[in-house]
């Protein structure tokens, strides 16, 4: 059963990204990504990471992609994107991607071979995650709040100006 869910979600996710590559409409692209990130949230759930799954759907498929859609609305690009002419770029990109894929598979195999340690942690233990967040990862957590504040102020400073200033 889990295998069927995995295959369905993987095909949905990869298919949505492929559709994003094929489509020329930016709003459609953003909606395809919502589908891809939602199914990725399902994959996270399969990996015993319910908290990451919920955050993925709420923050990524919800907040970030809605932000993209708002940006697309602001651009109001009436003219459709003309077809891409240069095939060279696609061929080079695909070649690079194939090489990188081989490297990633090799690295993943090594990473999996190194540690077949006994599973001491079950991902569903959110209380344990919370304790880690406020002990071992406390500095990272606090610095994250500074980062978000900087992003907020930076976005206002960059895009909050009136047009023509």
């Amino acid at each position: 059963m889990a295998l069927v869910i995995f295959i369905v979600l993987s095909v949905l996710c990869a298919g949505a990204v492929v559709a994003m590559i094929a489509s020329r409409n930016q709003a459609h692209n953003a909606l395809f990504l919502v589908l891809a990130f939602s199914s990725l949230g399902g994959l996270f759930g399969l990996l015993d990471a319910p908290f990451a799954a919920v955050v993925q759907v709420l923050v990524y498929a919800g907040a970030i992609m809605v932000l993209f859609l708002f940006a697309i609305m602001m651009f109001n690009l009436r003219q459709p994107v003309p077809p891409e002419r240069k095939r060279l770029r696609a061929i080079l990109g695909t070649g690079l991607a194939v090489i990188l894929f081989a490297q990633l598979i090799l690295a993943g195999r090594r990473a999996l071979a190194e540690g077949s340690a006994a599973a001491a942690f079950s991902g569903g233990d959110i209380a344990h995650l919370g304790r880690l967040l406020f002990s071992d990862y406390l500095y990272a957590f606090e610095i994250t709040s500074l980062l978000i504040l900087a992003a907020l102020v930076g976005a206002l400073a960059l895009a909050g100006k009136k047009e023509g200033e």
Binding site: L3, S10, A14, N29, F75, T94, L100, L112
Partner: protein
């Protein structure tokens, strides 16, 4: 029981799909979306290895990656909006000032 290798392979596939989208597409917004796809592929790999190794650290890293990705999306979109206001275009073909 799905082997973790399947999830790692899926993460690699998703990452290279993001790379291909980044190179094939020619407008800033879609390229930025491709970057988000790559970040998510990294998240999937972290979670797969966290489960395979039985450690919680992978899940913590995913939380921080999602937070940083949100901040990065805000700043990136603000910059793209700024470029659009100045140039009336977000196609990378139109932004070639550095090309001699």
């Amino acid at each position: 029981m799905i082997p973790p290798a399947a999830f790692v392979a899926m993460a690699a596939l998703l990452f290279i799909l993001g790379i291909i989208a980044f190179f094939v597409k020619k407008d800033l917004l879609t390229q930025f979306m491709a970057v988000e796809v790559m970040l998510n592929a990294g998240n999937l790999a972290f979670l797969a290895l966290a489960k395979a190794l039985g450690r919680a650290d992978g899940q913590m890293v995913v939380l921080f990656v999602i937070t940083v990705a949100a901040a990065e999306a805000v700043i990136g979109l603000a910059i793209i909006v700024l470029i659009f206001r100045q140039r009336r275009s977000i196609r990378t073909d139109d932004l070639k000032d550095l090309k001699g």
